[in-house]
Amino acid sequence: MTRLDLEPRQAVGIVCLIGLASAPFLLPVLTLRQLTGALFLGMFAMSWDYVSGYTGQLSFGHSMFFATGGYTAALFNLHLDVTPLLAIIIGTIAAGILGVVIGVPALRLRGPYLALITLIVPLILVQIVNIFPGTLGGEAGLRSPDNLISVGDTIAPILSTIGFETPFDQEVFVYYYLSLLLFLAIFALFYVFTRSYVGDIFTAIREDEDAVLASGINPAKFKVFAFTMSGAVGGLAGAAFVHTPVGNPNPGLLLAVVVSIEVVLIAILGGMGTITGPAAAGIGYYFVRDFLQSTVSHVSMVIFFSVALLVLFFLPKGVVPWLADRGRTLLAWRDQRGKPTT
């Protein structure tokens, strides 16, 4: 039998993948439903990290993409009877277009322009939602659009045989896997881009924009590309989210200022410029936040943000890079112990 030689990080990745894939058989249905929502937060966090963690261009209002994708998809489905799949595609494109519209003027300049513009745009969007309650639902949001798929008569009996007997359980099961597939696809997309030549240039822009310019590379072009792609993927996450049973198009879930703050915090806690860190932190954050809200709701945010600040203070690079460093140290120590003494 041949032995599979894996790097430790690859082994950890495979264990995580197996864990996520087998979650429906290990977790209670309600926890699985929470995990589905958490996967969307992970996708959104990855989209922020792709532009801000890699190119260093800080976006403080990334909820605008999540909301543009979510609202556009919901509106097309609710008012124009567009199928959910097509509505998700339209929502993704709309968020990408917003990325171009904001990115082209803001990213050609250096300085705090992008940060300022991204702070302001979500505030404008919140006002627009409130000005047109008839069309956009106002503070209460829109009613939920159609789900992406329905658990059909073909799948339902199969799911019953593996323990998912009620329609609710079956729906949770199906949407968990759909969300997981989307999460993995987005992870793979960002992972490939950030580990490519394009990713090298993103990082180079973050480290020294003048040096990039001196090499003959136009940083603005790459910054706009990263911002647009990040916006489109953030929009995709939002659009898909509202077409699942765990999400719906309301400003509190998609557009509120706290949504933008959360995604920045998640990425920093997980480890900026790693993709893996924000993906993992998005999932963890969702559960911790839900736990605090269900146990100490009146002080949950105080506790949560205080703990987050402490983590940032002691682990400024983020939790995942810290864990990776500890793991490497442990392996080095083990290898050292295994060596024969002379």
Binding site: D200, I201, T203, A204, E207, D208, D210, A211, L213, A214, S215, G216, I217, N218
Partner: protein, 241 residues
């Protein structure tokens, strides 16, 4: 005052009445310089004379008053990447290398705008600087100052330049390494590439330049060939003769 500035009309690079200010501080005042086809020109002068400001401006990093023409075209509206695309590559004093990238990755960034013949140019750079080939996979931050200078020059050559600007190529280098850089510069000159060097090391500049300009307090005080300037009393104070 000795001035032998060639006619700007036959120059590949001509700078006329160039003035640059940082707020209220004027760094360059009415500077005129020119580089003709096949020439190597050096700009010498003490610290704070405005040498780096001059080449930073030509490289597209500063706004300016006056005229800078490259191949007859005003560069005011050209971005740095556009200038590099037109064959003008500027190796800054900062060297602008990415420490966390390998030597080879840094070199390949130089051919971003022109990757046709990239492999041949990479081989040429390794011929010129065998030390870089030995360290091609090594992280740039682990290189010595001299090796970083070689890498900066090598990255410039990866762009297949027609005109090279070198800001302080000899700065902080040990004599042995300086010899390597000198030899590399001679090889570059043989390729008919125009070179504009900013240098504090007057000996290095005199050795390689066809003509020199002496800059002081943001203005050109002297210009001429190495022979004419070596016998100039004013320049002697800088040469230490």
């Amino acid at each position: 005052m000795s001035t032998t500035t060639p006619d700007a009309d036959d120059a590949v690079l001509s700078v006329e009445n160039l003035s640059v200010s940082y707020g209220k501080v004027q760094a360059l005042k009415d500077v005129d310089i020119a580089v003709r086809s096949g020439e190597t020109v050096a700009v010498i002068g003490p610290n704070g004379a405005g040498k780096s400001t001059l080449v930073d401006t030509i490289g597209g990093f500063h706004d300016y008053e006056g005229t800078i023409r490259y191949n007859g075209t005003e560069i005011a509206d050209s971005s740095t990447p556009a200038l590099i695309d037109d064959g003008l590559f500027y190796c800054t004093e900062r060297r602008d290398l990415f420490d966390y990238m390998s030597v080879e990755q840094n070199l390949r960034l130089g051919s971003y705008l022109n990757n046709e013949g990239e492999e041949e140019r990479l081989a040429d750079v390794f011929d010129l600087f065998p030390r870089l080939e030995e360290r091609r996979s090594q992280e740039t931050q682990s290189l010595s100052g001299g090796e970083k200078q070689m890498l900066s020059l090598g990255r410039g050559l990866m762009s297949d330049p027609e005109f090279l600007i070198l800001d302080e190529p000899s700065i902080g280098l040990a004599p042995v390494i300086l010899q390597d850089i000198s030899e590399a510069l001679e090889s570059i000159q043989e390729l008919s590439v125009e070179v504009l060097i900013c240098e504090q090391n007057i000996t290095f500049a005199l050795e390689h330049a066809d003509r020199l300009y002496l800059l002081e307090n943001g203005a050109v005080r002297r210009s001429g060939t190495p022979d004419s300037l070596e016998s100039d009393k004013f320049v002697e104070t800088y040469i230490g003769g």
